[in-house]
């Protein structure tokens, strides 16, 4: 990745809380217009990294440039050009929906007339126009999330940082949001997303890193990662709970690699149907057998030995 034109540039980035190292030497470069993802399980250090990039948390070590500036000295100037969606909504509970957007715009130095107009557009964007003069507290979780995202757009940010944008949304709301984010990307906004949903990572990210235990375990586009760390297809063989281990030895002979989960075996192979036939021939009698394409979940399992969503 070219370093010169990158919006975010980190080398050996470290975050410590007391003696605990939450981020242990992260290297990333994010180019303008790219959508970039941090994929990882709970506690991987995704939010800690995002907060450092958002200039909300001073780094404990390493190098970090955001929009070509140093967060330690240029925090206000950098934040003026970012949109930040934190993992936990922190809307202003003393204000209405409309006031939340207007007041937030004023923090960025927009004129009163500009924030009035902008608030109207963003309420349309977040489908909250009919709740304009309602307080924030009684809104549903999904509505609050949409308002938080709309609020992050009030200053027309060049970079939008979204920490688990769709956690807590219903499937339809997630798809609508992905569509909105895709349009922002088309308008040239750089998106940085954290998630522990592989489908979200595949939908949104041109390129992503898999994080685990504060480190980057792998980097690439979703399809690259799948090609590099998994096989084309996966055969899932379900067995009665507790009996899975009995069959591992046989299964290992049928595939390039086998993962053992509590209720099933995952056989990594380029031809799932052939492996399924071979399994029957070898005398395996699973409760069910399913052939599917590899996903980022499999990449994650390979890299960390753990499931992504536990």
């Amino acid at each position: 990745m070219a370093t010169a034109g990158s919006l975010i540039h980190a080398r050996g980035l470290v975050k410590r809380f007391g003696s605990f190292e939450a981020v242990r030497g992260v290297d990333v470069d994010i180019a303008p217009g790219e959508s970039f993802g941090f994929l990882g399980p709970n506690g991987a250090g995704k939010s800690s990294t995002m907060r450092m990039v958002s200039c909300l948390s001073p780094r404990s070590g390493g190098e970090l440039r955001v929009l070509g500036m140093d967060p330690d000295t240029d925090g206000p100037r950098i934040r003026a050009r970012l949109g930040v969606v934190p993992q936990q909504d922190n809307l202003d509970v003393e204000l209405t929906v409309r006031e939340n957007l207007q007041v937030y715009g004023r923090y960025f130095g927009l004129s009163r007339a500009a924030v009035r107009e902008r608030a109207g557009e963003l309420m349309e964007f977040a489908q909250l126009t009919d709740r304009a003069d309602a307080k924030v507290e009684p809104l549903s979780g999904g509505m609050k999330r949409r308002l938080t995202i709309a609020r992050a757009l009030v200053n027309d940010p060049e970079v939008l940082l979204l920490d688990e944008p769709t956690t807590g949304l219903d499937p339809q709301a997630r798809h609508v949001l992905w569509d909105r984010l895709f349009r922002l990307k088309q308008q040239g906004v750089t998106l940085i997303v954290t998630t522990h949903y592989m489908d979200e990572a595949e939908q949104l990210c041109d390129r992503l890193v898999v994080m685990d235990g504060g480190r980057i375990a792998a980097e690439g586009s979703p399809s690259e990662l799948i090609r590099r760390y998994s096989t084309r297809e996966v055969l899932e063989l379900r067995f009665p709970f507790g009996r899975v281990a009995d069959h591992t030895e046989v299964a290992a002979r049928l595939a390039e690699r086998v993962e053992v989960l509590p209720d099933r075996l995952l056989l990594y192979t380029d031809n799932g149907d052939a492996a399924l036939a071979a399994a029957h021939e070898a005398g395996l009698r699973p409760v069910s057998g399913l052939v599917r394409r590899s996903t980022l979940e499999d990449v994650f399992l390979r890299l960390t030995g753990r499931s992504l969503v536990d």
Partner: protein
């Protein structure tokens, strides 16, 4: 989410730091505290009545102790040595207390709620604003509240004929100074408060200070050692300052009280800013 968000007017970058501000650690200040102060006006637009209630407390004290109890006491010796009505003696003390109360109430309960529960400042710090902007804005709001109570109380004093000198015109800026100092130190203390139970300690500090800071009687009732202790209390300096201004017993020593509050305000602002940084920018 239905329509595209068109891009437009790019917000201005935060102003570059002036000469004075260059000595501050970078990133603390964006020079935009006014935007957060504006938020306080918006948020309190529907709560004027609740704000008003704090004005009545010192008024009730004035009526019951100054007018009622004052009828028993008659005249006392004023700060200049001349005899004055008891009501005229305690009214400046209550004026200082009202400046303190409004500021402290806002800088403790309200800021605690916004800091720990509503997470307001977490959201604000993701914009160009820094901890110093937050501290300045919130202290200003608390100061305005204390100042508003004091203004109302001054008007009552004027109406009751308790202001006997043209120096009393200076009582208003003095009340703002007292509010400012209490707001700043109040906010600094609030950053150390961990749970609402700790507010009992705030009450424990405020009430005795109100009763014993020469609000209701002159300092010479105290024996030597105790007197020094009282002279260290901030409200004592407020009471003395107000009493001197409202009765016209003005002397250069009053500048000592002013200096006391300026130092208090500066220390409070500095501690509040530093603590906000450590609490929120982890």
């Amino acid at each position: 989410m239905t329509t595209d968000v068109p891009t437009r007017e790019v917000p201005p970058p935060p102003p570059s730091r002036g000469t004075v501000l260059r000595i501050l650690p970078p990133g603390l200040y964006a020079g935009r505290a006014s935007a957060l102060l504006e938020r306080a006006f918006v948020a309190n637009r529907r709560a004027w009545l609740a704000l008003l209630s704090g004005f009545f407390e010192p008024l009730f004290y004035l009526l019951s102790l100054g007018v009622g109890f004052g009828a028993l006491v008659g005249q006392v010796v004023g700060p200049g040595g001349e005899p004055i009505d008891y009501a005229a003696f305690i009214a400046p003390g209550l004026l200082a207390a009202s400046a303190m109360n409004g500021a402290v109430y806002d800088a403790t309960f309200n800021i605690f709620f916004k800091l720990r529960h509503a997470k307001l400042y977490d959201a604000v710090l993701a914009t160009p604003l820094g901890p110093l902007d937050v501290a300045i804005a919130e202290i200003s709001w608390a100061l305005l509240r204390g100042g508003a109570y004091a203004t109302g109380f001054l008007a009552v004093m004027f109406g009751m004929g308790l202001l006997t000198s043209p120096w009393a015109l200076l009582a208003l800026p003095a009340a703002l100074l007292v509010s400012l100092a209490f707001a700043a130190v109040g906010m600094a203390c609030t950053t150390f408060i961990r749970s609402t139970q700790d507010f009992d300690f705030v009450q424990l500090a405020i009430l005795p200070m109100f009763l014993f800071s020469t609000t209701f009687y002159p300092i010479d009732v105290y024996p030597g050692g105790l007197r020094v202790l009282i002279e260290c209390l901030p409200l004592y300096h407020g009471v003395e300052l107000m009493r001197a201004l409202s009765t016209g017993a003005v002397h250069w020593g009053l500048l000592g009280h002013v200096a006391y509050f300026l130092v208090m305000a500066a220390v409070g602002l500095w501690v509040a800013t530093r603590r906000l940084g450590t609490l929120l920018l982890r």
